[in-house]
Homo-oligomer: 227 residues x 2
């Protein structure tokens, strides 16, 4: 076994029949030779299915929207990059000299793509069950600590749901202030709820984002009051 094969066997307990697939999975398009872009295409779909299946089973009462948010939180580039870095993928990447010099082995997109490519390579090498085992190993902790179904909804939605469940009416958002020149504007929005005396504020680059911030602050107050 070469270095990359030993590493994969040690960290993920997987051994390739066709070791060229692993080499290809670790080869970024900046390097010469067959790169991992096609494997990434395939691995992305394999990962999506395995994670979809896992969240479907783990949250039997979740809506389609909540399932989509749970899946998105697991397969987004940032998550994949952290998992890839934890596994030490960066050390085995094959990069072009430009990417090497500019720290490509730490770049999130390159790490995430390589992890998906390894998934695709295992799928081609041994089929879906081997890929599933590898994915469940890599995601074990995150699947164990999967958030509740509704936890990933945005603050405005959660605030509205919380109020409706208590027949407390809808929250009101008001634009309080806009500062800054065009394209650099800051929006300040207030959020108030029925008879409650608390008013929260949120400021951001878009009105919608400012509303989300104000809603998050209101939710925090309401949940604290309740506790």
């Amino acid at each position: 076994m070469d270095k990359a094969e030993s590493w994969l066997y040690k960290t993920l307990h997987y051994r390739f029949d066709d070791a060229d697939l692993l080499k290809q999975a670790l080869t970024h398009r900046s390097a010469t030779g067959r790169n991992n872009e096609r494997l990434e295409f395939l691995g992305d779909a394999v990962l999506d299915l395995v994670i979809s299946d896992a969240v479907y089973r783990a949250r039997p009462d979740a809506s389609e929207g909540d399932l989509s948010r749970l899946r998105a939180s697991l397969v987004k580039e940032k998550t994949l990059a952290v998992l890839a870095a934890d596994l030490g993928v960066g050390e085995y990447l094959v990069l072009g000299s430009g990417e090497k010099k500019t720290g490509g082995h730490r770049r999130e997109s390159i790490l995430a793509d390589a992890l998906e490519s390894i998934v695709g390579a295992i799928f081609l090498d041994s089929g879906i069950e081997a890929a599933r085992e590898m994915i469940e190993r890599v995601f074990a902790q995150r699947l164990d600590e999967l958030p509740a179904a509704g936890e990933l909804r945005d603050p405005k939605t959660r605030l509205q749901e919380w109020l409706q469940a208590r027949s407390l009416g809808l929250p009101e958002y008001e634009l309080v202030n806009v500062t800054g020149k065009a394209h650099q504007q800051k929006f300040e929005v207030s959020c108030s709820v029925g008879q409650a005396s608390d008013v929260t504020h949120g400021t951001s680059t878009t009105r919608r984002k400012a509303e989300q911030k104000a809603a998050a602050a209101m939710l925090e107050i309401l949940l604290e009051d309740q506790a």
Copy 2:
């Protein structure tokens, strides 16, 4: 077997162990009872993987971008709706009374979602291989007649590639005319190529779309001249 089960067995040669899954797959959210939204979430991912795998194998030299376009053309709502209608899915849908009255059994999104839900139901009932068989049966003709890898690239890209392959320089696009009021504007763009005397035109609601039309017209002329 009930009517829907017999239909599925006749058209797709699949028989459910758990017939409730089929019923759920055919139940739109407008109806009461367990609807197909969660199955659709799962089926969408199963379909994506099976089609990704099929185009990956069918086009061993295609780039990741071309593979993505091939897949997108197969799994887009319009394609799924046509396939679902051909299978006769509409006849077995369970809809709320409102959707029934307004022709929901012919609505593209409802048909496409139901087809994905049936895929998800078969996946849950028997696993990925049974789902793959069903998908390959439904998509048989489209996979047989899969376009060449580059055929789905947009006209501007294909025109540029055609010219570069012949060292003929880049096409030039010029905005010729803008008519209509704001939000209803029409852009007219011309396309010319090196020394060639032909100039083509395209008109559309955005400059980019107008360029694509002009490029498509130019490609047609060049490919005809060549033939």
